[in-house]
């Protein structure tokens, strides 16, 4: 193992703020992207289902 202890690992030779600030924000952004990807897909599917239902009502056809 490269590190003597976990606290040495988190300290990153006194540069913990810069290292964890980089990785933390980056992985948070990636997680947000995946979350919004999922949410947008759900929202689009719901919107398209509503759009289709409304179109069938307009024309008086059966859905």
């Amino acid at each position: 193992m490269h590190w003597e202890s976990w606290s040495a690992f988190w300290d990153m030779g006194g540069r913990g703020f810069y290292v964890w600030g980089s990785y933390g924000v980056s992985f948070a952004l990636i997680a947000l992207e995946l979350y919004f990807l999922h949410r947008t897909r759900k929202a689009v599917i719901r919107r398209l289902l509503r759009w289709r239902a409304a179109r069938f009502e307009d024309t008086g056809e059966d859905a």
Binding site: G13, Y18, V19, S26, L29, I30, L37, L48, R52
Partner: protein
Amino acid sequence: MNATQERRQRWRQGVEERQRSPRSLWRFAAPQQFYPLAGRLAPWFAAAAAVLAVAGLYLGFFVAPTDAQQGEVYRVIFLHVPAAWMSMFLYLVMAFWGIVGWVLNTRLSFMMAHALAPTGAIWCFIALWTGALWGRPTWGTYWVWDARLTSQLLLMFLYLGYLALTRAIEDPRRADRAGALLAIVGSINVPIIYFSVKWWNTLHQGASVSLTRAPSMATVMLVTMLIMAFAAWFYSIAVALWRVRTIILERERHTDWVAAELDRLAAKEKG
């Protein structure tokens, strides 16, 4: 109908015919064929990205040695360089799909460009963010207006400009073409970013990896960086494929096959 319009229409019909041909690879240029293919491929790319990222982070934090000059803070490189590479590469891929869309008149090409833009913008932001946090302890400043950093910031604005432009134009066909034009013209900036450290005197260090000379870093560091780069690449492919599926559903909503897919999705939700 004048001669040019007639030629265009014949060409479009030709494209559509080739897309319908079951033995031609062109069929995957048809959104209807690409939608299920993308759905099948994306999870594999995502899984590969996750495995590579875990391996890369393990190597980067527990195997790679302390850097003789920079100490531990250099470990930002394993994120910074792959993010910067992906931000440039994805912009070129966007421009490529823009050119294909303009030349071949394939709707799916424009949709691919749309699907790549948000991910490229995120990589671009990550490159700038990690660069700033790495610059502070090593250069003594978060930001400096030198050629490398300024051209990378311009790339960020090109991504944001593409996203704003394509969302501002309501007619999708015009939005596609305007966005593609911006991507194509803006791609001139990518070689400027890449070679900026050579052409100008900058604070930013030179290329870490080059095809013509031996790498300037220890092997384990180099291997870790490449593993992380592949992780970022596969992640981008997976996300772009997932995103393009949603775009296809919206764009093709008038077709029978999307109606059938919506029935399937609605049934699954009720489950």
